[in-house]
Amino acid sequence: MIRGLWDRETVAALLLICLMPLALTWLWYGGIEAAARLALALVISGIWHLIFMLARAQPPSLAGALTALAVAMLAPEELGLARLVLGITFGSVAAELVFGGWGRNVVNPATVTLAFLGFGFPAAPWPELVLPVAWAAIPGAVLGVALGVLPGRILAGAGLAAGAAYAAGQGTWPAGLAPVLPMAGVVLVLLVCDPVASAATRPGRWLNGLLYGALVVLFATKWQGAAPAQIAVSAALFTSLAAPLLDEAAITLWRARRRKHLG
């Protein structure tokens, strides 16, 4: 039988290409320390993929590199090697590999790793991103939407939520939101737009983006003393947990309209 292109590994490779501008900019500004973190995350993630391949015949995936990149960029700093290894292990194994690998997981493994590290070790400071890294996320997002591997409706929904917040503040950002925006944008592209762990229906994706945007605005304005990365990762985690519900709502709506339309 003839086969087309769009199997799991093609999608993972394209996502990786889309995130290249972001990753390279981050490495450029982060220097040797960033490179070491990325290498560590890649090695640990790779080891777990290898173990699951040998033990359970589960084909390894390039998506492991996506997880490693997100963790290296966003994980709290000054954790030490052991805690970082523990966090990545927990995220990769408990959120992805035991479900059968990327494509069968429910929540993005990087989101789980980051939430685990952030809430487990609250004393560790969250990383800050320099502004050019956030700008570098934009070309990647555009490329991903053009190729159809990143859901554009989630980006649009989040943009809509941000626009609504801007309009509600009469042309200014609500207090506390402006410094969070670059990090929220990077997390949106890295974690929220993961095609597997986000909503898969069209209205569901709009809602998914809107929910993420609304949560970011809520946390930024009401959560005293939270770091931008903490706010964005928490919003990403809750959004990801709500995604199946949003899909279910979208399908119910679709069926109701279909019944009406078909009589």
């Binding site: 087309g4 769009w6 069968r104 591997v149 859901p151 095609p195 898969a200 709506l253």
Partner: protein, 426 residues
């Protein structure tokens, strides 16, 4: 607006093929033709002609044991060369050799011409045209007394290298109108005529004013019956929907007037293992090697009945197929290392990732990922809630191709339909 509708969502699949042969369309009867069952079709037969008998084209050859009204007819003027029946007299193969001097069988169509419903049904069943109708859900020949909730006449086909229905129907407008009118008698619901761009193939007054013209997009899978049925008149076990190709309806129209069963079907022969692609008219059940004779290039190749997306390797032209694909098959390479083979054989199949490509492959007409998940999980309830009962294997062939799904979605769909059919007691 329904949120999942876009008018022409789909994909333009570039399947390589040879340049077309000169001329528009020629008639080619192969020396051999055969009547064979469809996949998983069980036809218990009583033979009406003996092995070696000379049969005019269209003459009854056999009838169904359980429903003697339904008759199989000779695809061409031929000698019945071999009768192969399996246990319980199930059809395995009826082989015919072309004998042009045997002439054509004449049917009595006076009663059907007067518009009498029972006579039209009897004519369809007695001429073998009944078998060309496909009833959804489940995609089998309609039951003998089945009354469809709607009829979809397909004058559109967006599969790669499918013959253009407008070329097929050129000059057959009157026959199509007569066929539509007769077909309209069999249902009290609407008759949908699905066609692409261009002048309307039939007026709105056809089929007692119950004809509705549906314009299909040009991208695959917009021209497939499954998605049109899913969108306009979903099929359910209690209200089956029929689907038939417009050429067969025009054949019915001609049959009503002349009493002869038109025995030619337009078929496109394409593929990258050919020196020229062809547009032919041949008999039903034609020998595929005969259709591509003189046009294949040397080397290993595969002959499929059907398009490159949904075709199956075959010797005889499939019952409802209008395409033959001849494809290069790469010779098996050197054996992989035992470790790599062990890993790939033990590996679980890769899951499908929701992408825009998958969405387009289902025409953006239904929540694609929800359907894929329901199929993979064997969740038949969600599957039917999403309208999956209107679909058949061919409708998911494009999604299979695009995602390289394993196991194939069309196979999962067939399994789900079989389970539901068993539950319905069919």
């Amino acid at each position: 607006m329904m949120p999942f509708i876009t008018r022409n969502a789909g994909l333009d699949i570039a399947i390589p093929t040879a340049p077309p042969a000169p001329g528009v369309r020629r008639d080619l009867l192969t020396d051999e033709a055969a009547l064979v069952p469809q996949r998983a079709e069980r036809l218990r037969l009583d033979m009406l002609a003996a092995e070696g008998a000379l049969l005019p084209q269209g003459a009854p050859v056999a009838r169904l044991r359980d429903h003697p009204e339904v008759v199989l007819t000779a695809p061409m003027a031929a000698r019945l060369a071999r009768v192969r029946l399996g246990p319980g007299r199930q059809l395995v193969e009826l082989l015919f050799f072309h004998e042009p001097q045997a002439g054509r069988h004449v049917f009595d169509t006076a009663a059907a011409r007067s518009g009498e419903t029972a006579a039209i049904r009897a004519l369809l069943q007695g001429t073998g045209l009944w078998r060309l109708i496909r009833s959804r859900p489940f995609g089998q020949m309609p039951r003998v007394a089945e009354q469809p909730a709607a009829v979809f006449v397909m004058a559109s086909d967006t599969r790669p290298h499918a013959p253009d229905p407008r070329v097929i129907l050129e000059g057959r407008g009157a026959a199509l109108d007569r066929g539509l009118a007769a077909l309209g008698r069999l249902t009290e619901g609407p008759v949908f005529l699905c066609q692409g761009r261009g002048a309307a193939l039939a007026g709105p007054g056809a089929a007692e004013g119950r004809l509705q013209l549906l314009r299909c997009g040009t991208l695959h899978p917009q021209g497939l019956a499954g998605f049109r049925i899913h969108h306009h008149h979903p099929a359910t076990p209690g209200a089956p929907v029929w689907e038939i190709h417009a050429e067969d309806v025009a054949d019915l129209g001609d049959l009503l007037i002349t009493g002869h069963l038109p025995g030619l079907r337009t078929v496109s022969v394409a593929g990258d293992a050919l020196s020229e692609s062809r547009l032919l008219r041949c008999q039903p059940g034609a020998n595929l090697r005969g259709l591509c004779q003189g046009a294949t290039v040397p080397g290993w190749h595969q002959v499929l009945s059907g398009s490159a997306l949904d075709g199956a390797e075959a010797t005889w032209l499939g019952l409802r197929d209008r395409q033959v694909t001849v494809r290069d098959t790469p010779r098996a390479g050197p054996r992989a290392h035992w470790f790599a083979r062990a890993l790939s054989r033990a590996a679980r199949p890769l899951p499908i990732i929701p992408t825009a490509a998958l969405d387009q492959a289902l025409g953006s007409l239904l929540p694609a990922m929800a359907l894929v998940r329901a199929l993979s999980a064997g969740d038949d309830e969600t599957f039917s809630r999403l309208g999956g009962l209107s679909l058949l294997e061919e409708d998911l062939a494009l999604a299979d191709y695009v995602t390289g799904a394993s196991p194939r979605l069309s196979g999962l769909l067939r399994a789900a339909l079989d389970r539901i059919a068993a539950e319905e007691g069919l």
